[in-house]
């Protein structure tokens, strides 16, 4: 595929500022507790922290070693904990403080919660009787820029807490993140969104805006699109076939970097690589369909060889210049290239096998709604042979969503077989999946309305509306088939799809399916609102909104670059495939998308969050 620079693409704002802000605040907070101290860092915060402040900076202001909090070693009499506001962690700290008290040790404790502290955590401190012994603070580290166009809140628990547990505490966090972006990069002219959570985030954001001073400045983004993960569960459940997505599926990208094992590096140790637009090789292949990557890499290798070959027949002077100017770049490129070739070889090994092809075929059939019986048989076999716990679950969910629930008979037999394979504790997993509407039994009656009216009697009218919302999101119908038809998500089968020259966003799934979330964004931006999509939004359970920003300078609505930058916020995580699809869309439309997500997700992460055997 042609890899020319995007024509006419607007420049992106500089997000490194966000890193600097976070770093400065952290250092400030740490200096609040003077002297040498032990610092405990929540294991989940290690990688994000690594991205914004390296250990030398911490050492500089702390004289300390940074430890994961499971590692017990106390040198100093001052302890500082840098944690996510989770009840368990706080409880752990309280136990530690109490143990010290019993042992008669006197130490000073400071807890820094990031991105914010929650009342529940303080309650725990109070209940454990250590509230007075501990000082608390907040480190408002809301956003970690993973790449030029990916911002992450690094809150994987957002998905489970919000959609499964009905705990909306992260809503304000998301709102504050938007507020931060707005205060640093200017206000937005238009906000669209769909989903209950999106609506709440918008409300919280609006309130924050009203609270603070209005700063009018030239906005750096034009539009914001908020979308709930539960609007589109299909996309994250599909196998990813775009290079970056595949790397994530196979090797798990963590905070923008990945660890390639010995099979990739063809040496005996593994290498940690940053994957972002700084990596020249990667930036060219990240959005490519996997089948193209190998060809591209070999072409690249040839070019590299030619560049090396230039050396021959050079005189001393030229050689000197070559070594000085080019060699380093070439070496670097060489290193990266060999890594990516290694990675794709290892992928090839895993993915070109028969199994994977069949898996993909089944997925595509499910998306198309074609040969469902065969698919069920395949899934059954998949479960029976215990190929992979997560994959089986994924296929089951995909089947349920696309088919709008399973027939009672199938549901029971598949479930029973799954339990036989992986143990009865997955009964709870299935309860979770049903609650989210990921795996359901087709039901004849209108149980929902019955439940609603029953509850309705208990409470006053005002809250009934809210309740109904809550329930409709609990037990929602997927309507995938109808949506797919209306939005033309699945291209007509039979036509050849040339993956080298993608014609639409479907290329990220081998031409079999356009991600629903991205299609919605495309449609809404095209129509500048939700008009004409009433049918679609009804099927997605409504909750859509479009608001024109009050403070925006409408006279400056001219063709500035900023007007062509769209911020898309995924609440509950987004996949690399979606990001690739949006990049493609941006290229088509001459605009650019910036993705803000609560975390990068994929099918495994999504489903692992719903397993219930760990508790």
């Amino acid at each position: 595929m042609a890899h020319t620079e995007w024509k006419d693409a607007p420049g992106l704002p500089d997000f490194s500022l966000l890193k600097r802000l976070a770093r400065d605040q952290l250092i400030f907070l740490l200096e609040q507790l003077p002297g040498k101290k032990d610092l405990f860092i929540d294991a989940d915060l290690m990688s994000p922290l690594d991205r914004i402040a390296n250990v030398t900076i911490l050492k500089f202001c702390l004289y300390t070693s940074s430890l994961k909090y499971t590692y017990f070693l106390f040198f100093f009499c001052r302890l500082c904990f840098l944690i996510r506001p989770r009840i368990q962690t706080v409880k752990w700290i309280s136990d530690l403080v109490n143990a010290d008290k019993v042992a008669g040790r006197f130490r000073r404790y400071k807890i820094i919660f990031t991105p914010q502290k929650f009342y529940a955590c303080e309650t725990v401190l109070e209940e454990q009787g250590v509230y007075g012994d501990v000082t608390t603070d907040e480190w408002n580290f809301y956003i970690l820029p993973l790449d030029d166009d990916i911002l992450s809140l690094e809150l994987p628990e957002f998905f489970r807490d919000n959609f499964l547990e009905g705990d909306q505490r992260w809503v304000t966090t998301a709102g504050s993140a938007l507020r931060l972006l707005q205060s640093v990069y200017g206000s937005f002219s238009k906000v669209y969104g769909i989903g209950r959570c999106a609506k709440m985030v918008y409300e919280s954001w609006r309130e924050l805006m009203e609270d603070g001073e209005q700063r009018t400045r030239q906005p750096e983004f034009a539009k914001v699109f908020l979308v709930d993960r539960d609007v589109d569960f299909v996309t994250p459940l599909c196998s990813q076939v775009v290079y970056e997505g595949l790397v994530d599926d196979l090797f798990r990208i963590k905070c923008g970097s990945v660890e390639f094992g010995p099979d990739v590096t063809s040496s005996d140790k593994s290498i940690k690589v940053m994957l972002n637009s700084q990596d020249k090789v990667f930036s060219e292949i990240r959005n490519e369909h996997f089948s193209n990557v190998f060809g591209f890499l070999s072409q690249k290798a040839k070019n590299l060889q030619t560049a090396y070959d230039k050396r021959r027949g050079m005189d001393i002077q030229q050689m000197k210049a070559f070594v000085a100017d080019e060699l380093k770049g070439l070496k670097q490129e060489h290193r990266l290239l060999s890594l990516h070739i290694g990675a794709s070889e290892s992928m090839m090994k895993k993915k070109t096998k028969q199994d994977f092809q069949e898996l993909l075929k089944t997925e595509h059939s499910l998306l198309e709604g074609f040969e469902i019986r065969e698919c069920i048989t395949y899934i059954e076999e998949h479960i029976n042979r215990q190929v992979s716990m997560i994959d089986s679950l994924r296929l089951l969910c995909l089947l349920s969503i696309t088919e709008n629930g399973l027939l009672s008979k199938d549901y029971r037999s598949l479930k029973a077989q799954y339990l036989q394979s992986y143990g009865i504790e997955h009964l709870l997993t299935f309860a979770n999946l049903r609650q989210l509407g990921l795996l359901e039994e087709q039901q004849a009656g209108e149980t929902l309305t019955v439940m609603e009216s029953k509850v309705g009697k208990l409470v006053n009218d005002k809250t009934v509306g809210k309740l109904t919302d809550a329930f409709s999101s609990l037990a929602k119908k997927s309507n995938f088939r109808a949506l797919s038809k209306r939005l033309a998500l699945v291209p007509k089968s039979g036509e050849e799809y040339d993956l080298r020259v993608p014609r639409d966003m479907a290329y990220v799934f081998s031409g079999a399916y356009i991600p629903l979330s991205c299609k919605l964004i495309e449609q809404v931006l095209e129509r500048d609102g939700w008009t004409g999509m009433e049918e679609v939004t009804r099927m997605l359970n409504g909750q859509e909104f479009a608001v024109t920003g009050g403070s925006s300078s409408s006279e400056a609505r001219s063709k500035t670059d900023a007007q062509r930058i769209v911020l898309v916020m995924f609440l509950g995580g987004c996949t690399f495939s979606e990001i690739s699809a949006l990049r493609f869309l941006g290229k088509e439309r001459g605009c650019r998308f910036i993705v803000v997500t609560t975390a990068i997700t994929n099918s495994s992460r999504l489903l692992e969050a719903l397993l219930d055997n760990s508790a």
Binding site: I87, R412, L419, Q420
Partner: protein
């Protein structure tokens, strides 16, 4: 030598401006009064009859504005007052003999009191000083035991007892509070010795160059900025220097040896000249750099109030400001001055007279290209003038000069016009805040607005905000909020009237927090009004804390939920948990699903049993079942596990979830089975899934038991076949495998057999099963064992184009040449068809 008019009088390098003729009517002037006036043109407090000390007549405390308008007056009923003083936020402090400090507001309303500690109350207050620092208003006390106690900020009282002064036998001759190095210190003079007291030490110091004839320091004062210090000795010399005692600025002999009443610095910021004012009865002496002093007669008992840029002199009848003549004013008004500003002023005068001289003057300025300097001077001088007429003249001249400049930035002129308009408004007799422009800039508009609000001058404050275009959030809205807070305390009006009035006035103002107003209403005992006001609060989050305080918990809970802020919901839930009994608490949660789900979350981590109770109360058998299942695999003991699972089964049945119940029962059976086998065969089995159990059994050769499970648990045939196939191949038990293959027709077909054998590198065995494979899978089977001919045969037979192609792709051109030809031919025919 200057062309000054009106109420301004010149005293050498100083000028004296009459600010007000006092509006009060004091019979005895300021005699026998304890007086305190707040800086920045703040209010004046008088304690009349203070020195009279007769038990029958109580002293009277009166508060006035700077122009002498009465603000409050009441008889003093508490103890003996040693000192009055004002805080930075215009609150009155009254320090009593016993060390208690009473705080009153501007209107004489009692706010609170605090004590300066036991030590002070025991040994009584001897002297006290109230001082201002960047940390707020502080109080310093010298006790009867000759020790100093200090509080740097009265809003956050931390008492500090300073170290003892060596050799101090009686009250020191004089002392003062300094702020240095972010610390408040006390400078004490004991005779001719000087000491600096800080937190830890008492350091003796000597001012450089203090004339030796003095045997005692009788008075001292520190400048407004704490940078300079003046000492008066018993020989009548005034020593002036920096307050760190490193540098001497000058020393002047006043030739008066009686101790003065008061001494103060009179110096504007950045000025080069030191000058202090010393006041005796009826006499005021200004000392400066030169040996000469300026003497000035006072008619009446007066008080000096040091300011940032001068000294105010308050007497029983007049209020005056004494300050150094500002540079710009001197340049312009000095007689025969040729400064550009003076010329410009002259030019404008001539212009108004329509005289051609105007042009001459202008030319003169322009030739030296000093016109912009001239305009600047005029604007600056206008700022320093108190008379509106003089201001106007100067500003007109500036504006006139501006016409001849092409790109002179207008901001300075415009903002000066605005500032002056505001200043003139607040200097007005009825308002009585005589701020200078320098002071105004230092105190900022925000503080000025606060002061206006504090004096309940709401309309003026709003006008000022609007006029200065203060952002609404900081300006108008803030004023309105204060107004509303004041309004809700007016007891005589009904709730409805006040609520309506407030909502009407505040309707379109941005950033109003109704909850703060409601809090005020609640604090003044008007709960109903508070609830009414809260209704106007658009952010439900703001309503919650107050509602909780007012014990309106159900309302608070629903508001918290409306706000969508989970943290807030938590707050309310936790509050309720402690407040209500368990039954009521659960009942309330039941009606609020959001709160309930949150509380469940909390219980999951903190109180498992509560969680169970919650489910029980809701008859949520499904969840209870799940709860027991979860509990079961936390328990290690088998009996407990089975018991818990049994509870789960019961709950599932109650929930009419037969499927889950059955599965759980199966699990119980499986557990028992595993246990039994474990005991018999010594294999680790408990806790495995069915599949894993069977795999383990097969792998150790317990086929019988595996078969039993297969039957008991109705395992699908396919699964079992797969399982057994894999397990046998794993053990490379090919014989058994062959037997197994023949037991009956394979439900999974025979291709898996082929593949599994190949996987274990046994081509020989694999071939055995190729023939059994269904025709559709024949090609694959042949290919799997590497039999190209067989594959080709099968493909050709089936005339399937894609299969033929698959085989072709696997052929290598060198060895299978013939085969390829055949295949190609067959393909051609297949395609034709």
């Amino acid at each position: 030598f200057v062309a000054y008019r009106g109420q301004t009088e010149l005293l050498g390098p100083l000028r004296k401006i009459e600010l007000y003729e006092m509006g009060w009517n004091l019979k005895d002037g300021l005699r026998e009064c304890l007086v305190a006036a707040a800086p920045y043109g703040g209010p004046i407090a008088l304690l009349k009859g203070h020195y009279r000390r007769s038990p029958s007549a109580r002293p009277q405390l009166e508060i006035y504005s700077s122009s002498g308008l009465p603000l409050a007056s009441f008889p003093w009923k508490s103890g003996v007052v040693k000192q009055l003083g004002w805080t930075v936020s215009d609150d009155l402090l009254c320090v009593q003999e016993d060390g208690t400090v009473l705080v009153y507001d501007l209107w004489g309303g009692f706010k609170r009191h605090f004590s300066m500690g036991n030590e002070v109350s025991q040994s009584q207050v001897l002297e006290t000083k109230i001082f201002h620092s960047p940390y707020g208003t502080g109080v310093a006390i010298l006790t009867g035991a000759l020790r100093f106690t200090l509080a740097t900020n009265i809003d956050d009282i931390k008492l500090r007892r300073l170290p003892e002064v060596p050799g101090l036998q009686e009250a020191p001759s004089c002392w003062a509070v300094l702020t240095q190095d972010r610390q408040s210190k006390v400078l004490v003079a004991n005779g001719s010795q000087l000491f600096i007291l800080d937190n830890t030490a008492c350091t003796p110091v000597t001012p450089p160059g203090l004339s030796p004839q003095a045997s005692s320091i009788v008075h001292m004062c520190v400048s407004f900025s704490y940078k300079y210090l003046a000492l008066l000795t018993d020989s009548g010399h005034v020593w002036m220097g920096t307050s760190n005692l490193k540098e001497k600025l000058s020393e002047v002999d006043t030739k008066i040896k009686t101790p003065p009443k008061q001494m103060a610095w009179c110096r504007r910021p950045k000025s080069q000249q030191p000058s202090a004012v010393v006041m005796w009865d009826g006499l005021l002496i200004v000392v400066g750099e030169c040996k000469e002093t300026i003497q000035y007669h006072l008619d009446d008992d007066s008080v000096l109030v040091p300011e940032l840029d001068g000294v105010r002199i308050i007497s029983g009848t007049h209020h005056e400001l004494l300050q150094e003549v500002p540079g710009a004013c001197e340049e312009i008004f000095k007689i025969a001055s040729m400064a550009p500003g003076a010329l410009l002023l002259e030019a404008h005068k001539e212009y108004e007279k329509e005289s051609q001289k105007a042009d001459e003057y202008l030319r003169e300025i322009k030739e030296q290209s000093l016109l912009s300097e001239a305009v600047r001077q005029c604007v600056e001088a206008a700022g320093h003038e108190h008379e509106p007429e003089t201001q106007k003249t100067l500003l007109r001249a500036a504006s006139f000069g501006k016409c001849f400049l092409s790109n002179f930035p207008p901001e300075q002129f415009v903002s000066m016009c605005r500032d002056l308009r505001v200043l003139n408004a607040v200097r007005d007799y009825t308002v009585g805040i005589p701020l200078t422009h320098t002071q105004f800039k230092q105190m900022t508009v925000q503080v000025l607005i606060d002061r206006l609000v504090y004096r309940k001058l709401y309309p003026l404050a709003i006008e000022v905000c609007r006029y200065l275009k203060t952002p609404e959030y900081q300006g108008v809205s803030r004023v309105l909020k204060h107004w509303a807070c004041y309004k809700v305390q007016q007891k005589e009006e009904s709730d409805e009237v006040i609520a309506k009035a407030v909502s009407v006035k505040l309707a379109d103002a941005a950033g109003i927090s109704y909850s703060e107003i409601a809090t005020k209403a609640y604090e003044s005992g008007r709960t109903e009004l508070a609830i009414k006001l809260l209704e106007f609060e658009p952010r439900s989050g703001e309503q919650v804390p107050l509602l909780l305080k007012m014990k309106k918990s159900p309302l608070a809970l629903s508001k918290a939920i409306e706000s969508g802020d989970t943290d807030l919901v938590y707050t309310v839930v936790m509050y309720l948990k402690n407040e209500l009994n368990r039954g009521d608490f659960f009942m309330m949660l039941r009606n609020q699903p959001v709160a309930l789900s949150l509380y469940k979350q909390f219980c999951k981590h903190q109180e498992q049993d509560t969680l169970k109770d919650l489910f029980n109360q809701d008859d949520d058998h499904e969840e209870l079942g799940n709860f027991y299942v979860k509990a079961s695999y936390k328990d290690q003991r088998l009996e407990a596990r089975v018991a818990l699972l049994q509870s789960a089964v019961d709950e599932y049945y109650k929930a009419k979830n037969d499927f889950s119940a059955k599965t759980t029962e199966d699990e119980m059976r499986l557990l028992r089975f595993q246990r039994k086998l474990e005991e018999e065969k010594d294999e680790q089995l408990v806790g495995f899934s069915l599949q894993d159990t069977m795999t383990t059994l097969l792998s150790v050769g317990l086929h019988k038991h595996a078969e039993q499970l297969y039957k008991d648990f109705r395992v699908p045939d396919k699964r079992f076949w797969w399982l057994k196939l894999k397990a046998l191949a794993e053990k490379e038990d090919w014989e058994e495998l062959e037997k197994f293959g023949k037991t009956k027709k394979s439900p999974i077909g025979y291709l898996p057999f082929v593949e599994v054998c190949i996987k274990h590198h046994n081509k020989y065995e694999a071939k055995k099963y190729v023939s059994k494979v269904t025709p559709e899978q024949k090609v694959k089977a042949h290919l799997a064992v590497g039999d190209m001919e067989g594959a080709a045969e099968a493909a050709i037979e089936r005339r399937n184009e894609s299969e033929i192609s698959t085989v072709l792709s696997r052929c290598s051109a060198t060895t299978d040449h013939l085969l390829m030809e055949r295949l190609n031919r067959a393909k051609a025919t297949a395609v034709k068809k």
